[in-house]
Symmetry: C3
Subunit: 229 residues, 3 copies
Amino acid sequence: MTDNSSLDKKLELLKNFTACDVADALLRLNHPLGGYLPNIVMFSPEYQSGDTKLVGPVYTVKIVPKSDTTSPKLATSYADTIPSGNVVFLSAPPDSINAVWGGLMNTRAKILGAKGVVVDGRIRDLEELRSDGIPVFARATSVLSAKEFTRPTALNVPIILNGNHDPPIKINPDDIIFADLDGIVCIPKDLLEQVLDSCEKHVAMDKNLKNALYEGITLTEAKSIHRKE
Amino acid sequence: MTDNSSLDKKLELLKNFTACDVADALLRLNHPLGGYLPNIVMFSPEYQSGDTKLVGPVYTVKIVPKSDTTSPKLATSYADTIPSGNVVFLSAPPDSINAVWGGLMNTRAKILGAKGVVVDGRIRDLEELRSDGIPVFARATSVLSAKEFTRPTALNVPIILNGNHDPPIKINPDDIIFADLDGIVCIPKDLLEQVLDSCEKHVAMDKNLKNALYEGITLTEAKSIHRKE
Amino acid sequence: MTDNSSLDKKLELLKNFTACDVADALLRLNHPLGGYLPNIVMFSPEYQSGDTKLVGPVYTVKIVPKSDTTSPKLATSYADTIPSGNVVFLSAPPDSINAVWGGLMNTRAKILGAKGVVVDGRIRDLEELRSDGIPVFARATSVLSAKEFTRPTALNVPIILNGNHDPPIKINPDDIIFADLDGIVCIPKDLLEQVLDSCEKHVAMDKNLKNALYEGITLTEAKSIHRKE
């Protein structure tokens, strides 16, 4: 079995869990902040609702203000470069008022086999994004295209999440994105196997714990019975 | 009739009104800010939508950062201590990034007869909360559990709402919570009877006022006819 | 044909496009920020969802804190002054915690033929607003009426949008509001004809461009073919 199909299999298994389960596992593995990328929420297929899960390797796009003339320029539209099976992650400049993702790019991404999109910034053409069907997460919407305001500068490079987080929150190429209605988690690829194992063990415990609650046991008792390790 | 069944009866009558009606009544009674607890919104059963009303006596849980080692510790899970018929109010530390309420606690609260939950902070397991059915209000979601970040320190104590409100907004044990899609109001128990009377009088006036609008009268005239006291 | 029916015809044609299309056209015409009014979103008929479009000439209402005793006072309720076919735009004081728009005013506005409402501030009675059916956009909800907090001071005057925008964002009487689920654009009346022409030309290009994407062409190629001018 190739490395990729083995990765796909793991990601498929991971979909049995939630972003909360994955963050719990990463915290147990001492990964900072459980990989949480705060304050980016599901906008498509619907606003923070439903059982949509977006799981896949990240493909990052670093975006700078147009006023930045020193950062490198890209030769082609970054939407044409998205590898199939990936989750596009766009890092907009802090507090940018324009969208860095919209209908045309989304359709191109979908055609290229992107699994979905996470935007640390704003999106537009929400109606089109929703009709395309691939999940899209963002901070907010806008009506402004990037054209006059921002431009891409680098593909698949390490990214620092917007917001004054201490320590800074990093997204690295090859990381795995897990996003659902509660929020977004970024999993280092090296930890994927351990995250899966930890989720399998602990989510089973918590299912038993929840059943115990329905039998009328206290949460304190239920935890002492079902969460001993 | 016991005091409790008399309270239940009043709360049931109060459900004929809205959070806006209740805030109007409290302002007429010179209660500061009409008891409004700003910027906490309905997340379950749906996001700021539908006719859900959460009405009941508050049961507060004060939560501190885990780094706070001086505040008292609780012996058992606070979810086990929730009195039936109450509205749980969780006060998270300001700007905390983790959830202080999630699926297991919610299920336990529901089993214990809690009417619903208000979180001055973040929640997680939104899908589970929505399937449990009791209303849940919060500032935002998160994927992080409290475990590594925050801990409860006191039950049913007075709470100061997060945000730099001047004067501070207080929630006291025994206050009544009234929450719907517009927002949340905190009613001092001593004012409940007067709030009910005031709502009954003024909402009837405003129903007549609205009917007058449909008959083509101006809002200025309609107010002069239907809001004289 | 009167001027008004000619305007109505143009506004009807404009509804073939989106707020994003209109902002794109305004940017091509060098209008600052493409007329975008950031961070005010659709609350009614639903939260940032569906194909609702609110398009019409603006009718502004400037609101000041009640503590401001020097600004002029209005003799009648401003809800009685709304011209038929207009979009009411309410400018609340920055960071005001109370709603400046609610159920009674909305019903009166609807009866007077208002097309919808945009609030640079908070709204209340969301359930009533949604049942009235005319679109309503705002920053947030509240349970507090304006009564004790704010008051209107001037009708159909120029407005500066809240938020520290540099340069300031202005809304002038006679401007045209275009609002949908992505956000709100303010079109100077003098530019309406050019905006329409520009939308017609460019949206047709982008439809061809999107079709080209579905034929498997790259976004880079598709742009070079379908966006040459």
